[in-house]
Symmetry: C2
Subunit: 565 residues, 2 copies
């Protein structure tokens, strides 16, 4: 019996720091055949793959695409990134050529409560401190590009406002990659004539920037620039949109992003190559790593494992209806991650009681997993369930989960990559390969481009969340109609709601029914090319807790970081 996730004597950072990584140039050369001339190294263990080299791969066939998603998250933890990394190592362990494509973690939350976002235990990507801190500077570049546009807007107004931007209708905020609640709502440009026109403004965290979403959806530098130019920065008094290109901002913004758009390669603890690139919010944006990383990985490996944000209701739906639709990607298999602990929480067990066997609660909580399985069938995608093993899991509980999944025609397997690395997820890997070999994937989008915008929202709410209906005030529906008249009717929709429930009530665990989804507000991301429907309170600038993790993070004289998690 392998060690449980709560009995390991080593922390994630200790395991990562104990690893003896290989030079990334050697990993890229030996595992993927990429010569050093096609890499831009960042230290010896991180590298960007050059865009020129990526272009040269265009005619190579694609590998198989595996999406890792999950049940609705609970405080018990599910381990989606850990599974993505572990499954990739497992595929290599069983003799396949596999790599993964992950999101870059945000810097700000590292100093709050959040652990690292580079996997855990023996299923991690390294160097984990670098990945969690500045990495290759992509998010800093996105912050700079975003705030350059912000500065250009206020500068334009300051110097006479020839575009007639209504200072009450500036839609473009500023961003920082820092959890700083004091910046959520500010009044800027105080201090007199030399500093401009006072107006209400505010900051979001960088991952919430539309530049981040654009960065992750752009096919190449030209597409990036076009999308940046299309950003709507605000409106005139006549409600006419003003775009970034009218400020000539898109060229300089793209110049700031020219290095960042190349995907970053690192390795797992087992020396498997991994892309980590881009990381948009999974609520007001689509929550997946960059199209360029996923598409490039498909050219380089036979199996590519990637993940989507939050649970499958939000993450997988957006992965398919936004990212796959726009980038022409077609997943071959979906892996749904769950833990018995988390399923019991969905069945009503409190966190402190999770170690006790509770088959009744588990059966109740299975309703959450079951609904996600059913939903993925609507997309025409076959699924495998991967249960992250914890030491308190009982044989009866495991049996129950397997049987319930089998009844839905889906295989559920136990995975212990956390304690064992790739070997621990070999069963999942074999099931995934078998599923892909059966060739059952037949991707269907949930709605056609032509469907009216509110109908798209309604379709997601009814088909995926199982709401009775989507509701909205007339003003919201009028806004959507206006956008349709402006030519934005064919965009996909991106729903921003709580990740903790199918409904908008985070406490409604399991598989709730008998609710509506109220659309409070809609936003247009004209550069990223989707409509955001905000359902409930969405926080785009987190705060720090009373005792933030910054309190214990430190670095020794030898440059070794401690306390990162």
């Amino acid at each position: 019996m392998p060690a449980s996730q709560h009995q390991s004597p080593k922390s994630d950072i200790e395991i990562a720091q104990a690893a003896k990584p290989r030079r990334i140039a050697d990993v890229a050369k030996e595992r993927l055949g990429i010569a050093i001339d096609n890499l831009e190294p960042y230290g010896h263990y991180k590298a960007k793959v050059s865009m020129e080299y990526i272009k040269s791969l265009a005619n190579k066939p694609n590998g198989k695409l595996i999406l890792v998603t999950a049940i609705n998250p609970t405080p018990a933890g599910e381990g989606k990134t850990t599974t993505t990394v572990g499954l990739t190592d497992a595929l290599n362990h069983i003799g396949k050529k596999a790599m993964c494509a992950l999101r870059e973690p945000s810097l700000g939350p590292c100093f709050g409560v959040k652990g690292g976002a580079a996997g855990g235990g023996y299923a991690q990507v390294i160097p984990m401190e670098d990945i969690n801190l500045h990495f290759t500077g992509d998010f800093h570049a996105i912050t700079s590009a975003h705030n350059l546009l912000s500065a250009l807007i206020d500068n334009h107004i300051y110097w006479g406002n020839s575009l007639g931007i209504d200072t009450r209708r500036v839609a473009w905020r500023r961003v920082l990659d820092m959890n700083d609640r004091a910046l959520r709502e500010i009044v800027c440009s105080l201090g007199g004539v030399a500093n401009g026109y006072p107006r209400e403004a505010g900051f979001d965290i960088t991952v919430a920037s539309e530049v981040m979403a654009i960065f992750c959806l752009a096919k190449d530098l030209e597409d990036l620039k076009t999308r940046l130019g299309n950003i709507i920065v605000g409106y005139t008094r006549e409600r006419k949109p003003v775009r970034a290109k009218e400020l000539n901002a898109h060229g300089a913004m793209a110049a700031l992003l020219k290095d960042a758009i190349a995907p970053n390669m690192v390795q797992t603890l087992e020396g498997t190559p991994a892309f980590i690139h881009g990381g948009p919010f999974a609520n007001i944006a689509h929550g997946c790593n960059s199209v360029s990383a996923t598409a490039t990985a498909l050219k380089l490996a036979d199996y590519v494992v990637t993940e989507a944000g939050f649970g499958a209701d939000l993450g997988a739906e957006k992965f398919i209806d936004i990212k796959c639709r726009k980038a022409g990607l077609k997943p071959d298999c979906v892996v749904i991650v769950a833990t018995i602990r988390a399923l019991k929480m969905h069945g009503g067990v409190k966190k402190e009681d999770l170690k006790k066997e509770d088959l009744k609660a588990l059966e109740a909580g299975m309703s959450n997993l079951q609904r996600h399985i059913e939903n993925l069938k609507k997309f025409g995608l076959p699924a495998v369930v991967s249960i992250n093993r914890f030491s308190a899991d009982t044989d009866n509980e495991i049996k129950l989960v397997k049987e319930k999944c089998k009844a839905l025609g889906v295989e559920a397997l136990m995975a212990d990559h956390w304690a064992m690395g790739g070997e621990g997820a070999a069963d999942v890997a074999k099931a995934v390969v078998k599923t892909i070999d059966e060739g059952k994937a037949n991707l269907k989008f949930l709605y056609p481009d032509e469907m009216p915008l509110f109908e798209k929202i309604r379709t997601i709410c009814k088909e995926i969340y199982r709401a009775d209906d989507a509701t909205a005030d007339k003003s919201v529906k009028d806004q959507l109609k206006t956008w349709e008249e402006m030519g934005f009717g064919k965009l996909p929709v991106c729903i921003a709601k709580t990740q903790y429930s199918f409904s908008t009530n985070p406490d409604a665990k399991g598989a709730p029914t008998g609710f509506n989804i109220p659309v409070r507000e809609v936003r247009l991301s004209a550069g990223a090319e989707f409509i955001v429907a905000v359902c409930g309170e969405i926080m785009t600038m987190p705060g720090l807790p009373k005792t933030p993790s910054a309190d214990t993070i430190d670095v020794g004289a030898d440059g070794r970081i401690v306390g990162l998690f």
Copy 2:
């Protein structure tokens, strides 16, 4: 006759992009004997030198240190960085082993009016686009570390303020590396209970951050952490200072800076290794590259050329009385950069009339150069004058400058590295080597550590600026006394005043007399370990012009940047 600086058919970026640089690992190996294992590459043309390797150099003898400074800047341009680069190439050209240590340019001003800060013509460091944009991410790391402290302060207040910080006396602002006048003065924490206590706040540009000054003065990671902990973030109602270490911020801040503190190596167009590291403001801070870069360069090369900000009145004085004093550095020779154009402007000629010979104005303007020469003698340092050649310079004008300098015992030489590279500054290089060989340098600081703070300010004003006196309100003098009682009396002082004149009147060119220097405000940089005396209006967050250079900056589909300058 070489091409003039205004007849070259190529822009700086075109010259830089046409260069065929060598791999930085090859440059480091062949020119300095540094193995690739001791480098952290950032792409193939930039690298950090590892701190471990730097420690291993401790017992090596130091090379000779050459400081490049200048007359008071004018709109005609002087070319200090160009001379630093050109002289370094010239020293290599005449057979010496030389490298330079420069400041990193700030990102924000690139999108305003400022040209790049990587030299010019055929005396540049490359890759210039990278150096002027994100480079190796040092400034982003400094921005993050600074703003983490800002967030921790407001978070501390939000959660109950057990340290009793007076929210009206928070001294720590926020920073961004962007010219954004709208952020100079803001009210933050609006929007109700969840967002904190509304208070006045604001942003400076990153180069004005005390973290930047600390970063540049710290000897190593431990020293950095100690200094970060000593930052005074605000005061209690009882006027007791609250330090960053009381918020446990310094460890996490240092963790964010652990990679950044290693100096960055690039190369000149002629393949000479160059350090570019750190870049604090030259008004409210000391305006020199990092101590670690300068000290490391002295271990690696026989001649190290470095520069200080603004004219010699501000830059050289701070280089000596702050950086050299604190880091134990001893310059062997000073090079004062001037142009005949600029000297004529100091003599009253308007910019549009600079192409006409005007010996009378030139003689009048020489007063500025003469005073800087005299000043440098007070520091016990021999000087060489380097005149950047322009095509309109006449033989009579050149003769006049040379004679006037000779009368002060200083050799003045024409330099044309801008058009010719290192060969063009060979005469200057020979004069510098000869001067160093004479061994006349005998460094003296302007004031002892023990001198009372206001006397230090007065000494600089009288000895260097030639003011009749320094004046200040009682409140300023009382503040200085309080700091002396708190134990800060031994710190050096850093004067923030206009760089365009010896006086506080930017229009008073040449060598003004009969003025006082009014000290408007004093600030304590307890982490950087100096007292700032603010004399006149000092802008710590620039704005953008009506037509910012962002307007024309662009990047092609091939990733090539255009319009950067």
